[in-house]
Symmetry: C2
């Protein structure tokens, strides 16, 4: 199945030149990267967009003790940087010491940069942040972090939806030990991670209560939620009102919360979590600084589980789901690489359900 393919000397890429607004992201011709030992060159078929692409461009992550400092999620970013961690594509060239006949294979790239080789290793970096990513025609990936998805029924664009959003959701469900027949609240359920969490939680037999805005209700129920609780876009909807609505939707309490919102919602809804429950947090679009009563945690053996991306075992489980087609990512809008600024504007409007994807190369027929 391997076929030789000419790789050009340079390529089109969206290059982040520094922290800033949309103008910091420039379309440039840059050299095609060369895979080093143990690496491969992947021709990008599709690359999905995520909040991290926006927040990294803005430097919005802050630093320990300096929350307003300009920084990426792990601290400083080296510029220029090609963003984009959600990559599906085809292997076109191996570096030295690559085991296996990868050339020509359709692959999904695990974008995590791990702090070790084992299954317990933690992600401490990400393609598109600490190394160049897939908002370009080609990308370099580690050969031991590409996964053959030739037999998946999903399209390249659907596959590109998986690594960050579904990987993050899978990491949350696994770290939160969500089991079948448990009741879970998924916040931000129409977002990339939230929608993935609804699908993955329902697929494992959990009773999913989803928090979303009224206009997204049908899509969230379609994704597998049993009940939808409305977070009115009206800013006067208080955390206490949401907590009361959650209590009505889950009168026996919550076993787990899959949360990307944080903020005042967390302490307000924490009272609904049962003994032994897990509140898994992977983001804080509602505010990162919270006031917490530790007694709620230790008197009820409740854990507040920070979850960053996924581990290797989580990603393998996700690839299995992709190959069997258990999950069906929804592509909301597609753009060309050249239209990346329009894509980011569409992303910021949040008036869609599913993922926004940049389509790079069509698969060869």
């Amino acid at each position: 199945m391997a076929h030789t393919e000419t790789v050009p000397a340079d390529m089109q890429a969206a290059v982040l030149t520094g922290f800033g607004g949309p103008e910091a992201l420039e379309l440039q011709r840059v050299p095609v990267p060369v895979p080093g030992p143990g690496e491969v060159l992947v021709r990008v078929a599709a690359a999905a967009m995520n909040n991290t692409d926006i927040w990294t461009r803005q430097g919005a992550y802050g630093l320990p003790g300096r929350p307003d400092a300009l920084a990426g999620w792990r601290g400083p970013i080296e510029f220029p940087r090609i963003q984009g961690g959600d990559i599906s594509g085809t292997v076109v060239r191996p570096g030295d010491d690559v085991v296996g006949d990868w050339v020509g294979r359709r692959v999904l790239v695990d974008p995590a940069i791990y702090d070790g080789l084992g299954d317990d290793a933690n992600p401490i970096g990400l393609l598109g942040s600490e190394a160049d990513g897939g908002f370009a025609e080609y990308v370099v990936a580690r050969a031991d972090q590409i996964h053959d998805v030739s037999s998946s029924p999903l399209t390249d664009e659907q596959l590109a939806c998986l690594p960050i959003a579904y990987g993050t959701a899978m990491g949350m469900l696994e770290r939160g030990r969500l089991r079948d027949r448990e009741t879970t609240l998924v916040t931000g359920a129409s977002g990339g991670v939230g929608l993935a969490a609804v699908q993955l939680a329902a697929a494992r037999g959990a009773h999913v209560v989803a928090l979303t805005t009224p206009d997204k209700t049908a899509a969230i129920l379609d994704a597998g939620a049993a009940v939808v609780v409305h977070r009115d876009p009206d800013p006067t909807t208080t955390a206490a009102a949401i907590a009361a609505a959650v209590a009505r939707a889950a009168p026996d309490g919550l076993d787990a919360v899959i949360d990307v919102v944080g903020g005042p919602l967390l302490p307000a809804v924490l009272d609904q979590v049962r003994d032994g429950g897990r509140w898994v947090i992977a983001g804080a679009v509602g505010g990162a600084g919270i006031e917490l009563d530790l007694r709620r945690l230790y008197l009820h053996t409740i854990s507040l589980v920070g979850s960053s991306m996924h581990t290797r075992p989580h990603f393998r489980r996700l690839v299995d789901d992709a190959v069997t087609g258990v999950i069906q990512p929804h592509v909301a809008h597609r753009f060309s690489l050249e239209a990346i600024h329009a894509a980011q504007e569409a992303f910021a409007r949040s008036d869609y359900v599913g993922k926004i994807v940049l389509t790079l190369h069509r698969q060869p027929d």
Copy 2:
């Protein structure tokens, strides 16, 4: 080994008559309780004292949303109530349907009231709080929650030190997945739970950094700590100063924190926790309300693990340690039941290391 023993009709007990000061605790003659089906009557040999005995008397636990309400750790308390969850003794009478020949056996009582029968069940009550405990000559216990410690080298008083303090510490280490060669910070290291955590963590091969006051240093090092960081009793010692001292003592960061202090220390020292680290909290003598930056948790896959007491597997592991004598609880002071008010005064002074124990019956020779 069973020998019949006459059980009197009534007994001496320290009876909590309501929430309040020391005057709420009265020495009274009360009827000896009768074991129901599946229960046994235990003649109390020794009963250790814990913070929970004081806080329950004071009603200091608060209620969800009403932190100043008078309440026990689970909410309302039924009065009169005999406190005391740390009980060693001898089985003197079985109720109906008790399997096994327990009469005459020396036992350690698991004081937890669980929400189910399996190994995953959570403690939702405690002898001495939601049911009568061991500050009395006799106590009723569930036959499936007494453990034969006849062959333990520990004294009855040492055994009575184990259930709450060592059980809580064991629950923290297990829920925090503390492994050998990991670095752990133990706060409040001279307290009952803290000292137990130092011993249990050192016994499993962890590198223990202990936070305590200067006068307790020798005792904490003796218990197995590798390094002691001083929390000066001077209240001007800020959380930031302690965090800096912890950073010097553990320059590569912390894998786990075993914490009963909470308060401003938690957010200050959280920056020292490594990726994938666990901060286990089982108390908050330094303050229950904290301000937390959720980004520290989710960007570094750090968990804040609330830990209440122990599970059945944790308690079994503790009984194994008691029988083999791996751990050696230190009895700081002993009092008779009649001297319980003096015992609580001594407890409140906190000028000792180890446990304060009420000695009830001597073992028959």
